[in-house]
């Protein structure tokens, strides 16, 4: 055991050894004062150089890593692409065989149809045309599938490398090497779309409301799934739960309360977000409703004369909250001597489409649409009552308009079935003609149409147009005026009518006989001879008034006047996306019409009649096979 002194002695002995080899102080200190002091800038430079070298080395490693990783990625993609191409080639071979078989079957079917037509004559021509159209649609689908298969089978390896071309690593490499980045060629989509337009059957309803409606004029789905339904005929606004099982009446027909619907059925106009507009007829204003139908505030319109047209059922809203509506229909008086007796006028053959800016309180005309020429005949009875007869030509081609979910206004032109677009930013564009099976009318067809219209007119005249009266009581009520009183014929023993009531009553009558008022008129000339100014057009009009709808996914639904794709009378809509591409046709279930839309391809359908009421159903459209549905 060593004591502290022993340890100290050993340390001192070591110190002696060290001291004998200690360098001179001046050699160390002199170096510090001289060489090192002078070399300090060089020392800093050296450290700077080391830092720069470190940075350069790091960049070099990064670049090497990027190149290495890219090469590995390309190699992996090449192997994967090769494998997929082999699989696609094998699949394409099988599909091609199946398609050839299918094509042979279609050819046989077509030959059978021709043979059947020859046997059964012209009586089965309509059904044969429909079957042939179905065959054409199947042929188009087969061609499209075959084209896709051949395209996929012969796709070069570039398709698999497209991801690598667009990947950030390649961009980084291009940036490092200061080389330009070649743009990726855009894929032509419109041409491929027009080759074969798929026909999609709208699935059967998944949800159905247990109660019936008098007439649905607007459906709005709230974010929480609740559904606001406007029953315009029963003058009720009902809020259903998300399953359409139970409902509460938000606005009722019962007058006198704060939640009264009003005395007239009126459309439910979609507004910004999930809100809606509905007319308040007493004050001639619009009420802004929240998604659950509660009144948020009243919207004052810039001018009284647009209140009626807004509630015509043809209004939409753009992305800036401006109301897009059709203008007021004002008849133009005909020159003296030209009118039909006793007096009359004529509506213009076009309507202005207006844009109502509620913030700036201005109304602009943004377009025109073609409407059928409509004439009116005014007659004054012995009571001083003025009756107006409206008649129109149902054979003319018309234009339609709708406001899509992104705020674009689409003008669907009926004379050649194309769409003019007015975008939210003010740009205008026109899409090419949409595909449509144009049917040329021969002279015999025109004569047959004129005769059939005249026969229909005569039949209605014989019935007295029982359902054609449309009574608008403003501001008083004249709906229960007893028959008889006075006039050219009627019940002479009936009490006289109150002239004050009649002055307050404005009655629009569609034609001929105003039986409730007890005023009988002599039959007027048939409609076909009364109204048509020019000859019947050479081609059937593709659309009819009220045939264009806009869903909440940015698509336009156009119902053509005729189609060969309807099997038993189903409605078949042409669905056009925001780019103007007709990308699919949707066939509704039999007996159903569209009542409204919700986001995500949700469609509300209605069916029924006035006697038994209308139903409300909900279904959802499957995603489009060409993936153009947003």
């Amino acid at each position: 055991m060593q004591s502290d002194d022993d340890l100290r002695a050993r340390f001192h002995k070591l110190a002696d050894r060290v001291s004998s080899t200690t360098p001179e102080f001046h050699s160390v200190a002199g170096t510090s004062r001289g060489t090192r002091s002078v070399s300090r800038p060089w020392y800093a430079l050296r450290r700077l150089a080391v830092a720069g070298a470190s940075l350069a080395a790091a960049m070099l490693f990064l670049a090497v890593g990027l190149v290495w990783g890219t090469s590995t990625g390309y190699a992996s993609a090449r192997v994967q692409s090769e494998r997929e191409r082999n699989e696609i080639a094998a699949t394409a071979g099988r599909v091609t065989n199946q398609l050839a078989t299918l094509r042979l079957e279609l050819t046989r079917t077509r030959a059978g149809l021709v043979e059947l037509a020859a046997k059964q004559g012209a009586s089965a021509r309509t059904s044969l045309l429909a079957a042939e159209a179905e065959v054409d649609s199947m042929t188009a689908n087969v061609a499209r599938i075959e084209h896709n298969v051949s395209t996929a089978g012969s796709a070069p390896s570039g398709a698999a490398f497209a991801i690598l071309r667009a990947m950030p690593v390649r961009t980084a490499l291009a940036a490092l090497s200061c080389s330009p980045i070649p743009p990726v060629a855009p894929v032509p989509r419109v041409a491929a779309l027009q080759q074969g337009i798929p026909v999609i059957d709208l699935p059967a309803a998944t949800t159905r409301a247990p109660e019936t409606f008098g007439g649905i004029l607007g459906v709005r789905q709230a974010p929480d799934g609740k559904v606001l339904v406007n029953d315009a005929r029963r003058r009720q606004l009902r809020l259903f739960d998300s399953t359409l099982t139970t409902s509460v009446v938000v606005r009722d027909s019962m007058p006198g309360s704060a939640t009264s619907y009003g005395r007239l059925g009126t459309p439910l106009i979609p507004f910004l977000g999930d809100s809606s507009l509905i007319a308040e007829w007493n004050s001639q204003t619009m009420l802004l409703l929240d998604p659950h139908g509660q009144v948020v505030r009243a919207v004052d319109l810039p001018g009284e004369r647009i209140f009626g047209p807004i509630n015509s059922g043809y209004s939409g809203i753009d992305s800036k909250g401006r109301i897009i509506m059709r203008g007021a229909i004002l008849p133009r008086r005909l020159p003296p001597g030209v009118t039909t007796p006793p007096a009359g006028g004529q509506y213009p053959d076009s309507l202005a489409i207006l844009r109502v800016d509620l913030d700036q309180r201005r109304v602009d005309t943004i377009g025109q649409i073609r409407r059928p020429v409509m004439k009116l005949v005014t007659e004054k009875s012995s009571l001083g009552k003025t009756s107006t007869l409206f008649t129109m030509d149902p054979l003319q081609s018309v234009d339609e308009f709708a406001v899509t979910a992104n705020g674009s206004v689409a003008f669907v032109r009926g004379h050649d079935y194309h769409i003019d677009w007015l975008r939210p930013d003010g740009d205008t564009s026109a899409t090419p003609k949409l595909p449509f099976t144009w049917k040329r009318r021969s002279d015999a067809d025109k004569a047959r149409l004129a005769d059939s219209v005249r026969a229909a007119q005569d039949a209605l005249l014989a019935l007295g147009y029982p359902m054609a009266d449309f009574v608008l009581t403003q501001p008083g009520d004249c709906g229960n005026i007893p028959a008889g009183g006075s006039g050219r014929s009627g019940n002479a023993n009936a009490p006289p009518l109150n002239p004050e009531v009649l002055r307050n009553c404005v009655r629009f009558e569609s034609n001929i006989i105003s039986a409730p008022l007890g005023v009988l008129r002599s039959p007027l000339p048939p409609l076909a001879e009364l109204n048509r100014n020019g000859a019947i057009e050479d081609y059937e009009a593709p659309i009819r008034p009220g045939s264009t709808l806009a869903d909440l996914d940015g698509n336009l639904w156009i119902l053509p006047r005729t189609t060969m794709l309807s099997r038993k009378g189903e409605l078949v809509y042409d669905v056009v996306n925001a780019k103007g591409e007709l990308f699919e046709r949707v066939r509704l279930p039999l007996g159903r019409a569209i009542a409204g839309f919700a986001k995500g391809g949700v469609v509300y359908l209605t069916s029924g009649d006035i006697t038994n009421g209308f139903t409300l159903e909900r279904t959802k459209l499957a995603p489009s096979p060409v993936a153009h549905r947003p």
Binding site: R10, H12, L14, A15, R17, F25, V28, A49, V50
Partner: protein, 172 residues
């Protein structure tokens, strides 16, 4: 500056011994550390404010400089950029001074035993036995409390005795 030179010259031998201890008896590293420490004192990066003895202050500067040098060497080794260092003269300095110490068996055993101690124990023992500092001064140099220095001193001394005894037995 003249006073500083005198002070440094007066404590140069002890400073070199302390630098050797801080550099694990690597003479080249010790000379480099001592050189850097002198440079710090002369250009004012390390300033003596008189709160302790100058020797204690000098030893503290040398210890921190040695620590910095070890850290820089570790970083350079980790980055494998030693080849970029522009110190060709460092590799050519022979360890002549250490050779004579190693030749002495007693000194060699002591150095070997010290190498097996922890760094803190080794430093405390060196300051107390080699430099004849008190434990309080040693704590001041090392930047630790007196109590901690005392614990290191006692444990290091016991460990050193045991190691030297083992070496002595092996020698016998």
């Amino acid at each position: 500056m003249a006073d500083l030179d005198e002070e440094l010259a007066r404590h140069h031998g002890a400073a070199f011994g302390w630098a050797l201890a801080c550099c694990r008896w690597d003479r080249t590293a010790a000379e480099d550390v001592l050189h850097t420490a002198y440079l710090k004192l002369m250009d004012g990066r390390a300033r003596f404010d008189g709160r302790a003895q100058f020797r204690t202050f000098l030893f503290g500067v040398i210890r921190r400089t040695a620590s910095e040098e070890r850290r820089h060497r570790a970083i350079r080794s980790a980055l494998t950029l030693a080849a970029l260092r522009q110190e060709p003269a460092a590799a050519s300095i022979p360890h002549t001074g250490l050779d004579s110490m190693i030749l002495d068996e007693s000194s060699r055993d002591l150095i070997a035993a010290l190498e097996r101690l922890s760094s803190r124990q080794r430093e405390v023992l060196h300051l107390v036995f080699y430099q004849d500092l008190t434990i309080a001064d040693a704590a001041n140099v090392l930047g630790v409390s007196v109590g901690s220095a005392r614990v290191h001193y006692e444990r290091g001394k016991a460990q050193l005795r045991r190691l030297l005894g083992e070496n002595g037995n092996h020698a016998e």
